[in-house]
Amino acid sequence: MTMKQSIAIIGATSTVAISVARKLAAEDVDIYLVGRNEDKLATVAADLAARGSSTHTIVTDLANLDEHAKVLQQIESATHCFIFHSALTDQAAAESDWSMAEASLTINLLSPLSLLHGLANRLEQQKTGSLVVVSSVAGDRGRASNYWYGTAKGALSIHCQGLRNRLAKSGVPVLTVKPGFIDTAMTAHLEKKPAVLWASAEEVADLIVKGWKQQKNVIYTPGFWRFIMWIITRIPETIFKRLSL
């Protein structure tokens, strides 16, 4: 007999999260949706329900770390946890205003870490399940144009690396996802140029589900970003300084 899978999608109204959830929903699973906007969560939940899965919605502002204990309790029976939430940082604002920088660190770094803290301990004990964390290529190298966002994502990637090594002993895989540019609600206001570097949420979701099923460690989505970042991280700092990237 196969047990019904139970999955938590944190940051469930993100465009990629919705696509991933849909791909998983087809396989008859129990889905916990965590997010801030009640109406949007309800929309997503209805869509997944129409596809045959049972859903639970948990409304919370993920930037509010005080709520996390409660959230962790509510998703207690989820064995596979996907962390999607993220907010683009206004680099200029963060440079001039500490509170903006702090807000970016809170939502992009402290919030996932606080959740992973609780989830890791539970899954380590249960010796089952998996973690999927969406970081970013922006965390691979600090750049003048977005290092506040990059700082959070870089630290998040390092954290996942450590966690992966710790949880490997308990048989709990940790997948770090490093997307490049994705055409989503979060990036709706940006020019999609050059077009070849922009991927659709659908495409990225496919790769995430595939990477998760194959228990990969780190995936770049799409894969060519691994190559781009390989080059970018190898450019000597003296030259990099002059590139204004």
Partner: protein, 448 residues
């Protein structure tokens, strides 16, 4: 904001500014803030009915969630941007199918309603509008109305086949049809000419839910030969879902010599011979290749090269078969006939749609590569014949219809005009609703 939205006919047009909301809740503000706009779906219309120069269109493809699906009754309510292929992925395993489907599964539900699309089952099931239970319509004054056959009836009727001009459809509720398998039993019959087609088509009408014919319009001497393909949902097989992902994609615009009258004639001859071989017995085909053969080839529209192409689809009343023959000769003699001319007998099931294209008659759709004046002249000549025969041409496929032609094909347009949202317009509409050109003929009195 982006600017790569294209219409399917690929005839170059100025970049189309495009807004892509991710949530239905964003629509009211977005819409109300535009001086002029138009909701569009996945750009599977060939001409300019999904374009609006100098103003942004609002593309709904991200509004693609299912709102409700009742597996017992087969009633499904969806956001407008759900593609037909995605809807099928959900409903087919549960034993349901679209009541009416066009020849591409890459159209959105909203776009399909706004063109009141027809399928191979027009003679048995009418057009899509006949199966719409309710529509949620947002107007630029931020009002959201649920319209049905009995509530806001006029707006309901105007919105079905309303070319996006009555406002933005934010939800569509459809009654699906039950199926036992995702397969069809398909019969192929070749015919030598139009008369024989008419006979076979009439014969097949009662026994087959789906009928459609492919006809050769290119080969002098053999024009009018073709294959009638009739099908029913099969009792044999499983409920597997098809994949709309292209198996092969045309990587770039083809050079203009790819398609010429010789290659097209050769193609038509080959196709005819291949189909002829299928005449023995009944074939068992999955819905995906049966309904959506072209979806297997990504960007097939690029074979027409960078100048693009026109599709022309028209119908004439059943008693006007001689006109159809005439038109066929005109096309063949022009040397511009295309591959895959599609012929279908429409039935008499009326749609609620005020401005709908389908009506009883013989309907023919074909492609013409863009050759400027020459193509325009041919299409204008065809329009003249269709007008004379009391027929109509299909806005979803059109880029050249004159205001005169439109107003004669759709005399209800004056009644329709009252339901147009002040913010909504399209390039198509600006052309065909022009009243100043209508000089050489007196307008027919409004029938409604």
């Amino acid at each position: 904001m982006s600017s790569n939205f294209r219409s399917w006919g690929t005839i170059p047009h100025p970049p189309q500014e495009t807004l892509r909301p991710f949530w239905v809740s964003e629509l009211a503000d977005l819409f109300a803030n535009q001086a002029q706009s138009l909701a569009v779906g996945n750009g599977r219309s060939y001409g300019d009915s999904c374009l609006l120069q100098d103003h942004p269109v609002i593309q709904t493809t991200q509004l693609n969630r299912i709102i409700r699906f009742d597996r017992q009754t087969g009633v499904i309510q969806v956001e407008p941007g759900v593609k037909l292929c995605d809807l099928l992925t959900v409903v087919v395993p549960a034993g349901w199918f679209l009541p009416v489907t066009p020849g591409t599964s890459l159209a959105t539900v909203g776009g399909a309603v706004a063109n009141d699309v027809h399928g191979k089952n027009h003679h048995t099931d009418g057009s899509l509008g006949c199966h719409v239970l309710s529509l949620d319509l947002l107007t630029s004054d931020r009002a959201l109305r649920t319209c049905t056959q009995t509530v806001h009836t006029d707006l309901f009727n105007a919105t079905i086949g309303g070319l996006g001009l009555t406002g933005i459809i934010t939800a569509v509720e459809l009654q699906l049809i039950p199926i036992n398998t995702s397969w069809l039993d398909v019969r192929y019959q070749t015919f030598p000419n139009l008369e024989e087609f008419a006979r076979l088509s009439t014969e097949a009408r009662d026994d087959y839910r789906y009928t459609v014919a492919w006809m050769d319009c290119a080969t002098p001497g053999s024009a009018g030969r073709g294959v009638l393909i009739s099908a029913n949902h099969s009792e044999q097989g499983d409920l597997t879902v098809g994949t709309a992902a292209a198996k092969f994609s045309v990587p770039m615009n083809c050079p203009k010599y790819t398609l010429n009258k010789y290659s097209i004639r050769a193609f038509n001859a080959l196709y005819y011979q291949l189909q002829k071989r299928k005449e023995d017995g009944v074939r068992h085909e999955h819905y995906q290749p049966y309904f959506y053969p072209l979806d297997a080839i990504g960007h097939w529209n690029r074979v027409y090269g960078k100048k693009g192409f026109h599709q022309y689809q028209f119908l004439v009343p059943l008693d006007a078969m001689p006109v159809m023959s005439d038109i066929l000769n005109t096309i063949t003699n022009s040397g511009m006939g295309s591959f895959l001319a599609v012929l279908k007998e429409f039935g008499d099931i009326a749609s609620p749609g005020l401005l709908s294209f389908p009506r009883p008659g013989y309907c023919l759709a074909l492609d013409f590569s863009e050759r400027g004046e020459k193509t325009a002249a041919l299409i204008s000549e065809l329009d003249a014949r269709v007008r004379e025969a009391g027929g109509a041409a299909y806005p979803a496929k059109d880029k050249l219809m004159s205001a005169d032609s439109f107003q004669q094909y759709y005399p209800q347009w004056t009644a329709f005009r009252q339901h147009i949202d002040p913010v909504c317009s399209s390039d198509f509409w600006q052309r065909v609703s022009n009243t100043s050109v209508s000089t050489h003929q007196t307008q027919q009195p409004d029938k409604l």
